[in-house]
């Protein structure tokens, strides 16, 4: 689903990523680990071009999205992202947070289709073989109603339906992160990227977020997760990669990765964190 080919990223003279090659298949749960400052976040943020790669390719659904010419917003609609600090929209209620992007994107597409139809109708007056009009099967109200229904059912699935109309500032950290995950889900993404989703949480809230992520994993969601939760990686991941010095120094299944690490840096790292 995502092919990362020779990915490079530097900030000025600081070379952070130095030729990363990895493939993420549909249904993969890939965990990224590595020391602080090794470029894990940068790698993840390059996957959806939140940071523009300075070299290499990222092939997502058959298109190289590292190319500045592609419409990156289109592709991001299929790639969810969950942040360490949640980043819920502070000026929107929980429900609005979840509905905002789906509604906006669909309404925009609807307007575009309608606009095209008007133009085509005009043009058809002068054409012999008439061009077909876009089929318009929905209305703005329908879009909003469906999005709302979906948002509410998502909220229900995480047990927060009673929080639909409150603002994010009133939620606990764990609740915020679960809403953030659900916000990403509302777009029906092909893959969700997680950047240390539990690092900013109080210990007693880590479990609820990890549980939700496990549930997604079991439902077959493709996920790329930067985390320091080794237990979670071991249990849920089917692929683990170790990044240091801007390169993947080792990768493999969790059994091999944790049971029989080869790279000395990884051995050293694991001895510190386990």
């Amino acid at each position: 689903m995502i092919d990362v080919i020779n990915l490079e990223k530097h900030f000025g003279n600081n070379k952070v990523l130095n030729g990363i090659n990895v493939t993420i298949e549909k249904g993969d749960i890939m965990v990224v680990i590595g020391p602080s400052g090794s470029g894990k976040s940068t790698f993840l943020r390059c996957l959806n071009c939140m940071e523009d790669p300075t070299g290499g390719q990222i092939i997502f659904n058959g298109e190289n999205i590292a190319d500045m010419k592609v419409d990156i917003n289109k592709h991001r609609q299929h790639m969810g992202m969950v942040f360490q600090h949640f980043n819920l929209f502070n000026n929107k209620t929980v429900l609005q947070n979840i509905m905002l992007a789906p509604v906006h994107v669909q309404c925009k597409n609807l307007r575009k289709a309608k606009r095209q139809n008007v133009l085509r109708k005009c043009a058809n007056c002068f054409r012999k073989d008439k061009k077909e009009l876009n089929e318009i099967t929905t209305t703005k109200k329908q879009i909003i109603d469906t999005a709302k229904e979906k948002a509410l059912s998502l909220l229900k699935s995480i047990g927060l339906e009673d929080k639909a109309d409150v603002y994010p500032s009133t939620l606990s950290g764990g609740q915020k992160q679960r809403v953030a995950i659900v916000r990403a889900l509302a777009m029906n993404p092909d893959v969700i990227l997680f950047d240390e989703p539990t690092s900013a949480l109080d210990p007693e809230m880590v479990g609820e977020v990890l549980d939700l992520m496990k549930k997604l994993a079991n439902e077959g969601m493709t996920m790329v997760i930067v985390t320091h939760e080794m237990g979670f990686a071991r249990e849920v991941a089917n692929k683990v990669i170790f990044i240091d010095d801007g390169q993947i120094l080792e990768s493999g299944t969790p059994e091999r990765f944790f049971g029989n690490p080869k790279n000395p840096r990884l051995k050293d790292f694991l001895s510190k964190v386990l």
């Binding site: 917003n73 991001r76 969810g80 502070n90 000026n91």
Partner: protein, 236 residues
């Protein structure tokens, strides 16, 4: 004390019988029109400039726009309001051969001038919004502009509301110089009353009170607005 009461009586006489109140109402109207329209124009210009100044500057067009905006801001913040009014009225208009009333010129200049100040306030406000908000918007596939309009600017506006209130108050106060270009504001009205009674003590005192009341009322309105916008901060 007796003489003060006499002066007050004289003032009331002119105020009521010689159409003083008409002038005052007219002046109040002009003062408010200039300040309010000036502020509105300023907000539009300010948001535009502030947006240009926070757009990522990889491409050439944003850089050029950014350059133009910084010249604009420098220019309008560099000279006192009176000077700008005079230059507009006595230099620009004749040169361009345009006819405008004093009030129109005042609205325009106040708008352009406050636009420069508001753009800086706005830019501070936008930068005070956590960058994670923009990232989250972009990450769900919204464009820079959409995220700006729906997420960042509403939060920025809330953050800068007190400062904007102060800007409005400053504008109200600065309207007292528009008589330089022949706009009839509160000062002109009370000056008229004063010259007719050869007595300026009471008219200017009343003028001061009106300005202070105006400012108090506006401060109150800003507070109320702030409270109603503050609901997303409240725990409930």
């Amino acid at each position: 004390m007796d003489s003060f009461i006499l002066k007050v009586e004289k003032f009331i006489e002119i105020f009521i019988e010689y159409n003083g109140y008409v002038k005052v109402l007219e002046g109040l109207k002009n003062t408010l029109i200039i300040a309010v329209l000036g502020l509105l124009i300023g907000i539009v210009i300010g948001i535009l400039i502030a947006t240009v100044r926070v757009i990522p500057k990889y491409k050439i067009l944003p850089r050029i726009l950014n350059g133009i905006c910084s010249v604009y801001v420098g220019l309008f913040r560099g000279a006192p309001m009176v000077v700008q009014l005079l230059v507009f009225y006595y230099v620009m208009l004749p040169l361009l051969d345009i006819h405008m009333t004093g009030v129109q010129v005042a609205i325009l200049v106040f708008g352009l001038n406050s636009g420069a100040y508001i753009s800086e306030i706005m830019r501070g406000g936008i930068q005070s919004v956590d960058s994670g908000q923009m990232e989250a918007g972009r990450a769900v596939g919204l464009s820079f502009g959409t995220t700006m309009m729906k997420i960042v600017i509403p939060q920025a506006v809330k953050n800068i509301l007190p400062t904007m209130g102060n800007e409005f108050i400053a504008l109200i106060k600065e309207t007292s110089v528009v008589s330089f270009v022949g706009a009839a504001d509160l000062y002109v009205a009370f000056n008229y009353i004063g010259s007719n009674s050869y007595e300026f003590m009471v008219p200017y005192l009343v003028m001061a009170i009106i300005y202070i009341l105006l400012v108090l009322i506006i401060s109150l309105l800003v507070k109320l607005l702030e409270r109603s916008l503050g609901k997303s901060d409240r725990r409930n």
